[in-house]
């Protein structure tokens, strides 16, 4: 199998912007290089970090990026694309419960260029890497997973809530903040030895992704990476995934 190789270090560029209400620091970390014979390793991030100074007074509100924030280095136009994607994500306070800042990607989907760029960024990363399976987690993973699968020639496999999939399934229980939930997948959907990428809109604690990793592992599939549009860094999902690589486009602190 082709490994997602160890990236070589590039210069890190920073743009620091202070505004009256929030300050943002944008960093771009390393890109990965064409494949070498290196063993599979923890893949590096292509992230666009933002600090949020708390919920805005008027909610819901679309994010705004100042003009200077866009002026970071431009490798294949990636930073421009990511800044547009990040600016389309809408934060809704106190949903689904008080105290939670919900990251709403439906506004990203309303911007055809931002949606296309999102898919392109994942496709650029995974095409020609011998990925056989894109596993998408119900339900928002069903929005991003299939376009990626179609573009890279992989099969799309839905990872579903209980009792939705007909026929023979395997199940995995996982923890929620309060209580547990169950994820299922079709037994016949994958073959041992296949390579998979798991796709969801957002990673928080990592519990859902871990359940998907376990399910695919039980059927002999290698999970090459988990891919999400958004990471909630505070919830430490990356740590929970341990040695399993995680790739995100936008990282929220």
């Amino acid at each position: 199998m082709n490994a997602l190789s160890q990236p070589s270090p590039l210069k890190i560029k920073e743009a620091k912007i202070a505004s009256s209400r929030r300050s943002s620091v944008f960093t771009k970390s390393c890109f990965f290089t064409p494949n070498t014979a290196a063993a599979p390793s923890r893949s590096d991030l292509l992230i666009y970090s933002r600090f949020t100074a708390g919920a805005s007074a008027t909610a819901p509100e679309r994010r705004r990026m100042s003009g200077a924030a866009m002026a970071t280095s431009n490798v294949d136009g990636t930073d421009d694309r990511i800044s547009r994607i990040a600016s389309t994500i809408r934060v809704i306070p106190d949903f689904p419960k008080p105290g939670i800042l919900f990251q709403d990607i439906t506004t990203l989907l309303l911007d055809p260029k931002a949606f296309k760029d999102t898919i392109d960024l994942f496709v650029e990363r995974y095409k020609d890497k011998n990925i056989n399976v894109i596993a998408g987690i119900e339900a928002r993973g069903f929005i991003f997973g299939p376009p990626i699968a179609l573009a890279i020639g992989a099969k799309f496999v839905p990872m579903r809530k209980p009792k939705k999939l007909p026929g023979e399934v395997i199940s995995e229980e996982y923890s929620l903040e309060y209580g547990t939930d169950v994820m299922e997948m079709h037994v016949g959907a994958v073959q041992p030895g296949e390579n998979a990428v798991i796709v969801d809109d957002l990673v928080a604690t990592g519990g859902t992704l871990n359940a998907a990793i376990r399910l695919l592992g039980r059927l002999g599939v290698t999970v090459v990476e988990c891919a999400c549009v958004i990471e909630l860094k505070e919830l430490k999902g990356r740590e929970k995934l341990g040695d399993n690589p995680l790739f995100v486009l936008v990282s929220e602190t």
């Binding site: 819901p60 809408r90 809704i92 949903f95 689904p96 919900f102 709403d104 439906t106 989907l109 309303l110 911007d111 055809p112 949606f115 296309k116 898919i119 119900e138 339900a139 928002r140 069903f142 929005i143 991003f144 299939p146 376009p147 699968a149 179609l150 020639g153 992989a154 099969k155 799309f156 496999v157 839905p158 579903r160 009792k163 939705k164 999939l165 007909p166 026929g167 079709h186 959907a189």
Partner: protein, 187 residues
């Protein structure tokens, strides 16, 4: 209307699409022959053909909105939206969409359910499609049409991969054209 009677007669892609669907008897209840599209989306070539047929049909119809019904409609609609340069709008079960929503009830075989859509997702006058994997009674699609119209959109057509043959008698669903690729697969 069925694709085979509307320009795609004899198109080998339609047979491949039908063959890629798995019939699961007595799921979720006795008597129901469930049409499982997971074997279609896991067949890359057939999945690609499915999306291409819809994209070819809608590309030049000036459509700016593609609405997909949760959850299996989500597997098809976004790719169609991307293919024609339209926005994608998820139509969801209650309580899933944050922010301001409108809600529409529809009948199930036993009881009722509701479908929700974000307020302001469409501008008045935008031309829209509704996509789902399968149409049976048309209850869900009818609710979807009403949601889009309440938000001011013009629903141009509803499109599904699979449609029950009874619908051949009805080209229209709530006054809107219905486009279907294949009939349900038999065991």
């Amino acid at each position: 209307m069925f694709a085979a009677e509307n320009g795609l007669k004899g198109d080998p892609r339609l047979k491949a699409i039908s063959d890629a669907i798995t019939v699961v008897p007595h799921f979720p209840k006795p008597g129901i022959m469930f049409q499982d599209i997971t074997t279609l989306v896991s067949n890359h070539k057939v999945f690609k053909h499915t999306v291409e047929i819809f994209v070819d049909r809608y590309r030049d119809m000036d459509i700016s909105v593609v609405a997909g019904v949760e959850a299996r409609g989500f597997m098809f609609a976004p790719s169609i939206a991307l293919g024609i340069g339209a926005k994608f709008i998820p139509l969801r079960k209650p309580g899933k969409l944050p922010g301001e929503v409108i809600s529409e009830a529809y009948e199930l075989e036993y009881g009722k359910d509701r479908l929700e859509m974000h307020v302001g997702a469409v501008k008045p006058g935008e031309r829209a499609l509704v996509i789902d994997d399968l149409v049976a009674t048309g209850g869900t699609l009818s609710a979807a049409i009403r949601l889009l119209e309440r938000n001011g959109a013009e629903v141009v057509e509803c499109a599904c991969v699979i449609g029950l043959p009874e619908l051949k008698e009805r080209r229209l669903l709530n006054g809107k054209p219905l486009y279907v690729l294949v009939e349900p697969r038999e065991l």
